[in-house]
Amino acid sequence: MERLLEFIKQYKRNRSAVVGFIVVVLLISTAIFAPIVAPYSPDIQNLADRLIPPMWDAKGVSSHVLGTDDFGRDLFSRIIFGSRISLMVGAISVGVSLSFGLVMGIVAAYFGGKTDLFIMRIVDIMLSIPAILLAIVIVSILGPSLFSAMTAIGIVGIPTYARIVRSSVLAEREKEYVIASRINGSSNIRLMFVVILPNCASPIIVQATMGFASAVLEAAGLSFLGLGAQPPTPEWGAMLSDSLQFITTAPWMIFYPGVAIFLTVLSFNLMGDGLMDVLDPKLKDK
């Protein structure tokens, strides 16, 4: 409790991180209450109302705040519903990366030697293929879909987590409190997960937050390439690539989904930055 208060106090010092946190909270509530927040269903088409510019444009109408797309769908509503997808993608990909990366990292660092060498070879191989490329390869195996994109991004993230976990476990493993626990007869599992792991939480939390941001960004990128979410899913990246042909005639269709991606990613990054300040000041300097 005391720790939490101290944590909040320190976190509050980083003002942009607070803004990031607020935006994230807003985003999560938007995603949860999307059907209430959005004035229209994201898929409802109205061919009569195609390509209406945003409200503040001379030709805009107040019933479509951000205008409509080429199917006459309300852009604002689509962006709102898009938040659900982005957050889901972030959560699931981070979940995948984290769970695998965590176990790999701990096992590698704790057992060391050949085990470490073997796991880190796998990690190196994965890292030797640039992330987006690896994601594309995975998507091309699974076939383009939102699910594939999430899986791909999840897999691509594993080595990063594995490395971070490994290096912090390595640092912790040598500390005397671990030796103390071992002398007192702790089992390997207990040493790994009860004794050491909680002390590696900070970099992991920070990385998960940042990783969330990059997962959202990567998913949008894959969808933009047509390898992720497929239309008419209101995914922001897919919306962007769908509206590419309207860059001159209906630029708002490109502008706002992009802004949505940017703000989401930025707010998670700001939050991650703030967490880093508080939880892991050393990491920030690395």
């Binding site: 061919l47 199917f71 590419l244 042909q245 860059i247 001159t248 005639t249």
Partner: protein, 511 residues
């Protein structure tokens, strides 16, 4: 007309390769057409046949052999990468065609499968290609086939230089054939920068006459908005595939004009008789035809770039019958017919394809419009879609109730539509006649036309067949789309080709 100038054609994608016998995509043909000629060709902007590298041809009475008399004094152009200037002879014709089916031809194994040869069933048609003398070639067939001549005008039948091919083979560089073309056509390939541009120079000695423009550049600009922007600033002169939304803006530009051409295509809703018993009743089919407001659909979804279709072949095709029965929008009549047939409440699945095609810019939207129209006459439809491969596959196996599909002509022959899409032969799994419609009279007409070589006779037969179609309506024909090409006003005499080629040898600049 004036000589000179560089013309830049802005297109949406790059060619895959430049050996037209191996590729199937339009963008590849854009490139190869500039370089190669065929024995026969379509008159610029039409589906009418005219002499190409063959000045004339004789057809045997039984329709089983064609003798082509070749044009003399035509030379393959020397290029940067192949300096020899070889004369065009019968050997080249024999080589170009036989490599596609003669297993002993050294090029039969090179470059992968001959996709179009297979797709057009040429193995079942062509028996042999024989050189009679230096300037005469005889092609013998296994069975009479009226569309054969049209097939010879298709890209896959382009004539390549045998000598060049053999020289490459000797050097062990047979691969280069698809990348460094040497042809007899109006333009000579100078440079091909993948995914960027192809640069051609005019063939000074072109047998049809030297092209007016000096240089032709096919530039790849995938994004249509970007292409439009480039057209506006004049960094391209002819723009391929404009986005319908953009056209109004382009038209308003004083430096730009639009060239239009009705596409050789048709989009339709096939009513699957095999799966849905109700569709076996002609009254139901007619009712559905009455119930759908084609005009409204064409206006809203084709953005005006299409025309309501009534026949199974497009109006630009020879033998098109303009006088067949046309189902005008009439919901009352539809209701009546349905009642009469005993289906006042009908419901079925309506499949909408997931991709956009020239004949169908947005199938889902069309489906939604149809859904609304049909609801008004008491028919409930559920819209279903699968990914493209599955969609086609299921359709071929008659697993749909009804599905939206379409067809673009390959060779300007009505047989390519009527036989492929509506004959009983084509209703066998995997079917291209996805409606599963079988009509003996229709079949008889089509079969006869296929073995008749006289074009007037064939025209009559096809007109008749269209009448049967319009009476029996196995499809709801939806539209023939209009191909629009915005070009700079300074570009003169640019004609669109119904088969989708882009030809520039008659184009000139007016400044």
């Amino acid at each position: 007309p004036k000589y000179g100038g560089v013309l830049v054609f802005g297109r949406s994608g790059d060619s895959v390769a430049l050996d037209p016998a191996h590729v199937t995509d339009g963008e590849s043909f854009y490139g190869s057409t500039q370089v190669y000629n065929n024995l026969v060709q379509f008159k610029n902007g039409t589906t009418v046949m005219e002499p190409g590298l063959a000045t004339s041809w004789d057809v045997a009475k039984d329709g089983l052999s064609y003798v082509f008399h070749l044009r003399k004094g035509v030379y393959f152009h020397p290029t940067k990468y192949y300096k020899k200037r070889n004369e065009f002879t019968a050997d080249d014709v024999v080589f170009s065609l036989k490599r596609q089916f003669d297993k002993t031809n050294p090029y039969n194994k090179i470059g992968g499968s001959f996709k179009y040869w297979g797709a057009m069933n040429m193995d079942k048609i062509v028996k042999d290609v024989i050189k009679l003398d230096k300037y005469t070639v005889k092609i013998t067939l296994k069975k009479p086939e009226a569309p054969f001549l049209s097939n010879m005008a298709m890209d896959f039948a382009s004539i390549l230089s045998k000598t060049y091919a053999m020289d490459l083979l000797k050097k062990g560089k047979a691969d280069r054939l698809s990348r460094y073309p040497v042809g007899t056509g109006p333009f000579v390939l100078v440079k091909w920068i993948k995914d960027d541009k192809m640069i051609f120079s005019a063939n000074e000695n072109y047998w049809e006459g030297k092209p007016y423009i000096k240089k032709l550049i096919l530039k790849v600009v995938p994004n249509s908005s970007v292409r439009a922007a480039e057209l506006k600033v004049g960094s391209i002169h002819v723009m391929d595939f404009p986005n319908p939304e953009e056209i109004a803006g382009l038209q308003a530009n004083p430096a730009i004009k639009l060239v239009k051409q009705e596409g050789l295509n048709v989009g339709y809703l096939a009513l699957n008789e095999i799966k849905v018993p109700a569709f076996r009743d002609v009254r139901v089919r007619r009712a559905i035809n009455y119930a759908i407001n084609k005009k409204a659909i064409v206006k809203a979804i084709y953005a005006g770039f299409g025309k309501p279709a009534y026949a199974p072949i497009p109006p630009t095709m020879w033998s098109y019958n303009a006088n067949i029965k046309k189902f005008k929008y009439n919901p009352a009549k539809a209701k009546e017919l349905l009642k009469e047939a005993g289906y006042p409440k009908l419901s079925f699945e309506l499949w909408a394809m997931p991709v956009s095609r020239p004949y169908m810019p947005n199938a889902r939207k069309v489906a939604e419009a149809m859904q609304a129209d049909l609801a008004k006459v008491g028919v409930t439809v559920k819209i279903v879609s699968y990914d493209w491969g599955t969609y086609l596959d299921k359709g071929e196996h008659f697993l749909d109730d009804s599905c939206i599909l379409g067809w673009t002509g390959d060779n300007g022959d009505p047989d390519n539509f009527l036989n492929v899409l509506l004959s009983s032969n084509a209703a066998k799994i995997p079917a291209s006649n996805v409606a599963g419609w079988k009509n003996k009279d229709f079949d008889a007409l089509i079969a006869k036309a296929k073995v008749t070589t006289d074009i007037k006779e064939r025209t009559k037969l096809y007109m008749k067949a269209q009448e049967i179609f319009a009476d029996q309506v196995p499809w709801v024909t939806i539209a023939n789309s209009l191909v629009v090409e915005p070009i700079r006003k300074s570009v003169m005499n640019f004609k669109l080709d119904p088969m989708g080629k882009r030809r520039f040898n008659k184009v000139w600049f007016d400044k």
